[in-house]
């Protein structure tokens, strides 16, 4: 029997506010335990939550970016359960009336095809603290720095049919939330994490199979492997005559397997009810249009503009816009310049990106900024240096502060375009290699590259390749 996989994702994106969702305490990562938790975060008696206006505009930004319904009167609700790192004994979340309703995104899959993934809802909630099990013997510590950190929980429809699609969707959302500046996307620090709802059904069956929810997947690789493992596990069970149990499972990256955490029967009754401490969250048209006005251009529109205005190929445009800082860098490089935008795109996705990866840097921290790169590309375009020499110049620029022109000047890298100088070098090479000349003239034209290489070497790479080729051919023919 053939099986179809059905996947829905719940993504928790930590909103990039400086203070918490319901208090003024800082959200900075990595502080000493319990130094960033105020009375409100600790849930001390008598304290009250007050909504951080920043999270509301971020949620609206997400809604606008996913063509989603914006709930004009959304409501916070309490999710009640006891856990030591949950200070109030309830989490403030949204249940019946989430701030963001139905929306969708169109995801590009690895084979370049596109698929629309629908989003059921996205709601605001506070994060819990952290239980620390490895600090004290036989005791558990609690760090409440994270308690009250704002999260946007983005719930997809069960629209994905493979781990590959799930990863493509997760990556798409990951890029999007960074693009619109609502989440730093740092998965190691837990700013972006996924829960996957996975089920299988016989191909062609309309009803969904019983699902398992895999919690807290904090890398795309784990997401993919957890789903693959889980799908195989469920199919094995079904094919061996067992059923799949509705339960919550954990992915163990070391063993590369998922295992049961709690079944449906053990699940909490969260006793959701509207939080009486927080009046309905009212959003008016004026607020929405303010958020809209401050929205950055979204990747899709930007990519289309790059194809249209700068004649990039769609593939190049998509690569450049996949990250907002990269797209900004690209636009800064080509601004007012004469070289083709394609040259800039190639350099940014090739040389620059390689260098950034090597040094583990973000593009904003690149040692070669857009203006410096721009000058380098201008020197390629106007024939001062070849592309190959440019790579050498780029390396020097990266490790210092000199401009491309300074380096070309200092190191004498200027391309040789003087015909007589090139001719002289060619003559020397021809004179020194009579047998190869004879072979070439006898029809072994492949030897051309040997001569090009030899002349190029003699010129220390600076001979203009076009001129070199032309003159060399002429001389070999006539000689």
């Amino acid at each position: 029997m053939s099986w179809e996989t059905v996947i829905g994702l719940e993504i928790h994106a930590q909103l990039a506010t400086r203070s918490k969702i319901f208090s003024g305490a800082s959200t900075a990562f990595g502080a000493e335990p319990n130094t960033q938790a105020c009375a409100v975060d600790l849930g001390l008696p008598g304290v009250l939550p007050v909504v951080n206006a920043g999270v509301v505009s971020m949620a609206v930004r997400f809604a606008l970016a996913t063509d989603a319904f914006i709930t004009k009167r959304s409501q916070f609700a309490r999710k009640n359960y006891f856990y030591p790192d949950l200070p109030k004994g309830y989490q403030i979340s949204q249940m019946a009336l989430p701030i963001v309703g139905e929306g969708s995104v169109t995801v590009t899959l690895p084979d370049e095809s596109e698929k629309q993934i629908n989003i059921t809802r996205a709601h605001l909630e506070e994060d819990a603290g952290k239980s620390v099990h490895d600090l004290f013997d036989e005791r558990t510590g609690i760090d409440l720095n994270r308690a009250g950190t704002p999260l946007l929980e983005i719930v997809s429809e069960p629209d994905m049919r493979s781990a590959v699609e799930a990863v493509a969707y997760a990556r798409h959302i990951h890029a999007l939330v960074r693009y619109i500046d609502i989440c730093d996307g740092n998965m190691q620090e837990g700013s972006f994490r996924c829960d996957a709802n996975v089920s299988v059904r016989p191909s062609g069956q309309a009803e969904f199979g019983t699902r398992a929810e895999i919690k807290n997947l904090n890398s795309f690789r784990f997401l993919e492997r957890a789903i693959d493992f889980e799908v195989e596990r469920q199919i094995d069970r079904l094919e061996s005559g067992h059923s799949v149990v509705q339960e919550t499972r954990l992915y163990d990256a070391d063993k590369d397997e998922t295992r049961s955490m709690r079944s449906k029967e053990e699940a909490n009754d969260y006793r959701y009810f509207p939080d009486p401490d927080l009046p309905p969250l009212v959003i008016d048209e004026a607020f929405i249009s303010d958020v809209k006005a401050a929205m950055p251009e979204l990747p899709k529109a930007r990519s289309a503009r790059f194809v249209n205005d700068f004649k990039l190929t769609p593939a190049d445009a998509n690569t450049v816009v996949s990250d907002r800082a990269t797209a900004d860098y690209f636009e800064a490089v080509i601004k007012g310049q004469k070289f083709p935008a394609k040259l800039a795109a190639n350099w940014i996705t090739g040389e620059l990106s390689g260098r950034l990866n090597k040094d583990n840097l973000a593009i904003a921290d690149a040692s070669v900024g857009p203006e410096r790169l721009s000058l380098l590309l201008t020197r390629i375009e106007d024939g001062t240096i070849s592309g190959k020499i440019a790579k050498q110049v780029f390396e020097d620029m990266w490790s210092g502060k000199d401009s491309a022109d300074d380096i070309i000047e200092k190191k004498g890298l200027k391309q040789i375009t003087d015909t007589s100088a090139i001719e002289a070098m060619i003559d020397e090479v021809i004179a020194a290699n009579p047998s190869q000349v004879a072979e070439y003239q006898a029809g072994k034209e492949k030897l051309l590259s040997f001569f090009v290489g030899a002349v190029m070497k003699a010129s220390k790479g600076k001979a203009n390749p076009g001129q070199l080729n032309q003159i060399l051919r002429d001389k070999l023919k006539s000689g």
Partner: protein, 473 residues
């Protein structure tokens, strides 16, 4: 007295502290007394007055119900759970009254977590009614009411979730006002039922209540449910005529459960209002009978969630030697909370459970809407609605402790104001067998000024509010 220099704040404070020291051993109205801080606070007020400051509350002693967090002292909420709890912040109400120059003598006894109508649910012992010591003072602000009645302070703060200011005010012969929901900040006031809780003053006269409420009321950026509506001057027109005031009298308030003596005291008070030029209009509140059931779903439901933070993990009572996490929770809460609190947590948890939510919590919220609609209709014709504050005067200590439902029926006339967020005031209007009787006026949202005005006019022509319990010289 302070303003014209008849006495200093220090003398006044010493006077009340002396009375507390002498009389409160028996009455048990206070959980903590801060003599030293009070005296030094009073001295500072005297200096401010000497320097020319002349605000009406400057140097006036008062007591806070022990539900308001006060930075630097204990805040117990009448519970073993918080027996040793020190809040690192003060409630907005506390800050505001401090700012107005009031001198805090200490913290008043109360029913545990404000759950009760008799003050018998305090971990720190029952409070006696100064009028008859074998009677309860009412609750949950029973300590606040009893201490003002015994003249241990001129004014005290209370909180009112279903009648907890007005019912003890009625039982102890005082004036007490529960403001409109959102009029006074709830920040730093330990929550019982967040959609119903409001703070207000208890004092001898409506005039005193007006001055203290003036200082308590107003917006607070730390409480999202607190209103930004400007606070009017409550004292300004207290003495104006009430000629033409339309008082609605719901027949539902004079039904079976009402004590005859209370009924006739209330009827006489209404007759007094007619003499003052008010017009009595018969109104109907057809859903009055649903108030108690709706209240006893909504309030426990919210309480069950609000009290989840008392888990023995971060603050408050923690059981000895917990075996594991489950044991820590079970015993800390089992040992830290009293019986009534546990009962309400269980009722509330049940009402919010999957499968019961629609039938209980949601239904109760719908009933709340119906009750509100009744009041809206009545207020189309009248300015205030009048009736008894409680069905009976104060009852004997222990009389209802075994019958929670009988106890809950004390709130028969008071819970509707909380369910609808309306302001309501109780004032003394008679006596039955030597025990005070309260008259309740309920007003429209943010119409506290009219309630205080009406109460003050009544108090200008009657002396019920000036009567004092005997034997407290």
């Amino acid at each position: 007295m302070l303003a014209n220099g008849d006495c200093s704040s220090t003398e006044l404070t010493e006077h009340y502290l002396e009375r507390i020291a002498r009389l409160d051993k028996d009455l048990n109205t206070m959980i903590s007394v801060n003599s030293d801080d009070a005296i030094s606070g009073a001295r500072a007020c005297d200096e401010r007055r000497a320097a020319g400051e002349n605000s009406p509350l400057l140097g006036v002693p008062m007591v806070h119900k022990d539900i308001f967090c006060v930075d630097g002292g204990k805040t117990t909420c009448g519970s073993r759970m918080l027996e040793t709890f020190h809040a690192p912040y003060s409630a907005t109400v506390v800050n505001k009254l401090n700012g107005a120059g009031m001198v805090m003598l200490g913290k008043a006894n109360m029913d545990e977590f404000a759950m009760g109508s008799s003050n018998e649910n305090s971990y720190f012992g029952a409070v006696k009614n100064p009028w008859q010591r074998d009677c309860v003072p009412g609750g949950s602000s029973g300590g606040s009411a009893a201490l003002v009645a015994a003249r241990l302070a001129p004014v005290a703060t209370g909180t009112d979730t279903g009648g907890s200011i007005r019912q003890p005010a009625a039982f102890c012969g005082l004036t007490g006002i529960k403001p409109t929901y959102g009029r006074v900040s709830r920040y730093g006031m330990i929550a019982f039922a967040s959609s119903l809780d409001q703070a207000g003053p208890l004092a001898v006269t409506a005039e005193d209540c007006a001055m203290v409420l003036q200082a308590m009321a107003g917006s607070d950026e730390r409480d999202s449910t607190c209103s930004n509506q400007p606070v009017p001057d409550y004292s300004k027109s207290l003495g104006d005529s009430i000629d033409g005031l339309k008082i609605g009298v719901p027949e539902e308030y004079f039904s079976d459960g009402l004590d005859d003596g209370v009924a006739s005291a209330v009827r006489s008070a209404l007759a007094e209002y007619e003499k003052l030029g008010a017009k009595l209009v018969s109104v109907s509140l057809p859903n009055q009978g649903l108030c108690i059931p709706a209240y006893y779903v909504v309030a426990p439901a919210e309480a069950s969630s609000n009290l989840s933070r008392f888990d023995g993990v971060r603050f408050g009572y923690r059981c000895d030697n917990p075996a594991d996490l489950e044991d820590l929770y079970t015993r800390s809460r089992g040992e830290g909370f009293g019986a009534e609190v546990k009962r309400r947590i269980m009722i509330g948890t049940y009402a919010l459970s999957a499968g019961y939510y629609d039938a209980y919590y949601l239904k109760a919220q719908q009933v709340r809407r119906l009750i509100s609609d009744d009041f809206d209709k009545a207020f189309a014709d009248v300015d205030v609605v009048a009736g008894p504050t409680t069905p009976t005067p104060a009852f004997k200590t222990g009389a209802k402790t075994d019958d929670p439902v009988a106890m809950y029926l004390n709130d028969l006339y008071t819970v509707s104001a909380n369910l609808c967020g309306l302001p309501a005031i109780s004032m003394p209007c008679g006596e039955v067998d030597g025990l005070p009787v309260g008259l309740q006026l309920t007003g429209q949202h943010f119409d506290e000024a009219r309630l205080l005005h009406a109460a003050h006019r009544y108090q200008q022509v009657t002396d019920w509010h000036q009567r004092m319990p005997a034997g407290l010289e």
